[in-house]
Symmetry: C2
Subunit: 135 residues, 2 copies
Amino acid sequence: MKIGELARRSGLSAYTIRYYERIGLLPYADRDRAGIRDYDASILTWIEFLGRLKTTGMPIRDMVRYAALREEGAGTEAGRRELLERHREQVRVRLAGLSACLRVLDDKIAGYAGQTTRSTHNDKRQPERRRRRAG
Amino acid sequence: MKIGELARRSGLSAYTIRYYERIGLLPYADRDRAGIRDYDASILTWIEFLGRLKTTGMPIRDMVRYAALREEGAGTEAGRRELLERHREQVRVRLAGLSACLRVLDDKIAGYAGQTTRSTHNDKRQPERRRRRAG
DNA sequence: CCTTGACTTGGAGTGCGCTCCAACCCGTAG
DNA sequence: CTACGGGTTGGAGCGCACTCCAAGTCAAGG
């Protein structure tokens, strides 16, 4: 598979794929005689996983660290696991923070109750105390 | 309250506070004869709310839009509410995505089971199907 | 042979959200 | 009077994660 098809199948742009290779997020791809990258379908699994790490807010430098361990292969499992576990904790914390903010947002919106916007989910939570001009 | 104290109390840097004023996130603060900003404690509530919007991933330009409506005052409630409701939906979606990724992360970590890392939370979810050498 | 189009490279440019700087002003303590 | 420790401004610089470009190579089709 050439870079164009991988781009289509992975959802990344060809630019991004090359960039990821440059910085070590993707392994250096085999080139044919013309110097053109030839990808195996298995790379898609890895890209998908990278996507998860990205979605969960892992900075690229940490992803690169993980990718390096993965490239190194056997003997790095403990390190990879540790990295993932640390990240998981951060995700848990962010998730909790996000949920808390969501509740505040719900309250705030409830404070604007009665305005004529098409009401989505407005019945989910009654406006316990309404703040007027609170921001 | 001068900018230094507000910085300490809000957790923002003085740099950031000035920047927020420049771009319209914070209202233009009254200056004394020496040109020094004098803040009312009520600004803290607003900054805290801005923090929530930021935590939930609202881009600054949207925060600026909301801040502008707030500045405009009465008559903008519907717009503000709409903005917040749209944002809330996005937060809900991100929250769901994040939870899904967290589960994948859990599975992945379970795949590294047995390695000697101090085990945090490893008993929370049994490794239903373990992937070997999956990344 | 010539064009087309997908690919190659190193490096420059972009948008975001700050972060910091130079040069200056002001009020208070010693 | 002087030094100090705040504050002020406009604008430059930074780190991140891309995004794009110029100039070139190559394979296939007409």
